[in-house]
């Protein structure tokens, strides 16, 4: 784009507003020239235009000048004549002349002949939104994102795990000893709070990476393309194309996603979409996927997680077809108009700010909901007071009583059932409960090693440095043909993963993951569904998802066994 060399002299330049307006300006100028008080502050032509436009500040100023009212009366008459001539108010006529001049000038001086007909965004869109290539590209993007989440966050995950089970546990134990806390408080803090909350906090690095890439995809404009791609897919399911936007939001958290269904025009679409939103894998489920993925399928955890996310989408589409033909028939046709924003490279600061805001919410949840659940759960696991075996506790007995329901799905242990029950409060609690049951017990058996505060701090700093180097190696190793981690690769056998693999078969673990993906939404999501669509639909959501989850888990487990995978 080039600008001409033409320059406008500000001294000589005078915009012509058209014959009627110019004539009225000329009539006002002699009257203004007779007002030295005004001409001392304002240029006469500018003042005349402002009076014609009826600028309130200028009118006040003129009123206070001697003989100002006569000038104002003349200006009002002039405005009335212009309005009669133009059929519109003076300010609009003047603005029209200004923008007309700007538009004309821009056309004269801006040379667009060298511009390509297609912008970079158009060129990228021709590939990314292509009918054949669009969906495979989306699948690859999803896979790369989860590969990065699993691989790059793994060293930090181990580091946070080490910090929580090492120094943080040691400090808490020392502090409790210092204040001579009773034994039960020791047990509650170390086996309940630290195991429960810490078990969830170890996933903060992984979630940070996930949120970072989700924000990158959103801010770059790619997610809008995904919504565009999914329009055809959604119309196949009988849902509105715009429904995919709340569904995408569901990857973060189902609660805002349910509220986002308000963007849909008719109630039928809103309810149908709201019932499908919980089938999207929200970020709270990621800790469950990562724990099980690394424990049972360490070599293919990224593929497993990608598969679970995609399964959620496909399942939502299938259920959407059923809903649109049964519960929610007769959808009036409406058009999906989505303006695709140009691609842009989001600034790093903005990306980090958005990512941190989302991560902070997760940490706050760990410090409130999960903390409260961990404490309540610890008490339930120790009632009747002094019970030795958690299986005999109130929580263990209730969980064991419900466990047979899951026998056909292969995970009928009281531990798994209990975790699913608490997961109703928030999905992250599934991991926190398992951590409390398995790791809490294990911690009691192994006394922590004696270290000084300085050694602990040193260990934290060195651990962070090592994790950063390892994450860097992992990142570089994602480049095809480069592998910096082959020699150092080792199995991460944490207390939780060891306990899980000892209690469940890989097939049962897969059935468990499917159940976690589909089963009854958390309390907050059900609350949002009730607030948006009413109590009836809240119960529909809670019951259909539980039944569907059970059915799918049983199908996976029984089908796998039938095929000899068990």
């Amino acid at each position: 784009m080039t600008a001409s060399d033409a320059t406008l002299s500000t001294k000589l330049f005078k915009l012509n507003y058209g014959s009627e307006i110019e004539a009225e300006i000329e009539r006002l100028l002699p009257l203004i020239d007779r007002q030295p008080e005004l001409t001392a502050s304002f240029k006469p032509r500018w003042l005349a235009i402002k009076l014609l436009e009826g600028e309130p500040d200028i009118i006040e100023r003129v009123k206070s000048a001697p003989d100002g009212s006569a000038l104002l009366a003349q200006a009002q008459q002039a405005s009335a004549r212009i309005e009669a001539a133009y059929g519109d108010s003076v300010d609009i006529a003047i603005a029209d002349a200004r923008y007309g001049f700007i538009h004309g000038l821009a056309r004269q001086v801006v040379d667009t002949s060298q511009l390509s007909r297609y912008t970079l965004t158009d060129r990228i869109d021709r590939i990314v939104t292509n009918r054949l290539l669009g969906l495979p590209i989306f699948l690859v993007v999803m896979y790369v994102m989860f590969k990065l989440v699993v691989d790059v966050s793994a060293p930090y995950l181990d580091w946070v795990d080490g910090v929580i089970t090492g120094p943080v546990t040691n400090w808490a134990a020392s502090l409790l000893n210092l204040v001579a806390a009773p034994e039960w408080l020791h047990a509650m803090i170390l086996d309940g709070v630290i195991a429960g909350v810490g078990g969830v906090l170890v996933f903060v690095p992984g979630l940070f990476v996930l949120y970072f890439f989700l924000t990158l995809l959103e801010d770059s404009g790619y997610m809008a393309r995904v919504a565009f791609l999914m329009d055809k897919f959604m119309s196949f399911t009988g849902l509105h194309g715009k429904s995919f936007i709340p569904l995408i939001l569901g990857f973060g958290c189902a609660v805002p996603a349910v509220y986002a269904t308000r963007t849909l025009e008719n109630e039928r679409d809103r309810i149908a979409t709201g019932l499908l939103v919980p089938l999207m894998s929200c970020s709270a489920r990621l800790p469950v996927y990562v724990v099980f993925g690394l424990a049972f399928f360490p070599q293919h955890a990224d593929l497993l997680i990608t598969g679970l996310y995609l399964f959620g989408i496909v399942l939502a589409a299938g259920i959407g077809v059923i809903f649109s033909r049964t519960l929610l028939k007769d959808n009036p046709d409406s058009i999906f108009a989505l303006e695709l924003p140009p691609y842009r490279l989001p600034p790093l600061k903005g990306l980090l700010t958005h990512t941190w805001a989302k991560t902070k919410e997760f940490v706050q949840k760990a410090g409130t909901v999960i903390l409260a659940v961990s404490i309540v759960l610890w008490f339930l696991m120790n009632l009747p007071w002094g019970v030795e075996n958690p299986r005999q506790s109130l929580f263990g007995q209730v969980s064991a009583a419900a466990a047979p329901i899951f026998a056909p799905a292969g995970f009928d242990g009281w531990e798994a059932t209990g975790s699913l029950m608490t997961g109703f409060i928030a999905k992250e609690v599934v991991v926190s409960t398992m951590s409390q049951i398995y790791v809490g017990e294990a911690d009691g058996e192994e006394p922590a090693s004696e270290t000084t505060f300085g050694e602990d701090v040193g260990e934290i700093i060195v651990g962070f440095g090592t994790a950063t180097i390892d994450a860097g190696k992992m990142l570089v190793s994602l480049i095809p043909g480069v592998n910096l981690v082959e020699v150092e690769e080792e199995e991460q056998d944490t207390a939780l993963s060891a306990a899980l693999t000892a209690n469940l078969s890989p097939l049962a673990a897969l059935a468990f993951l499917i159940f976690v993906l589909v089963y009854t939404p958390c309390v907050a999501t059900l609350g949002a569904i009730k607030a948006e669509y009413g109590q009836k639909w809240m119960w529909v959501s809670a019951t259909y998802q539980f039944a569907l989850a059970w059915l799918l888990a049983v199908l996976v487990y029984q089908g796998g066994q039938f095929l000899g995978w068990g």
Partner: protein, 79 residues
């Protein structure tokens, strides 16, 4: 030019975003924004901003790039 824009809105009787209007009237989008703002200030057009209307109670409103980018701010003729 303002009259052309107003005529376009009167004919369409529906909300239009800057990109759409820019294509229809062949006016540069960045120049058009100023004109539309003037018409809003003068009370000739109303703004429909998805971030302020449909998503007013959504907790994710502030950070939802899909909604703010995908569903652009539109303008509608004020009767």
């Amino acid at each position: 030019m303002l009259k052309e824009i107003m005529a376009e809105f009167r004919t369409a009787r529906a909300p239009m975003c800057v990109d759409e209007l820019s294509r229809t009237l062949e006016i540069d989008a960045s120049a058009l924004e100023g004109i539309l703002d003037t018409l809003v200030q003068r009370g000739r057009l109303n703004v429909i901003d998805p971030a302020n209307y449909t998503c007013v109670t959504c907790p994710a409103k502030g950070g939802c790039v899909i909604l703010t980018n995908g569903l652009q701010k539109s303008y509608v003729f004020r009767d």
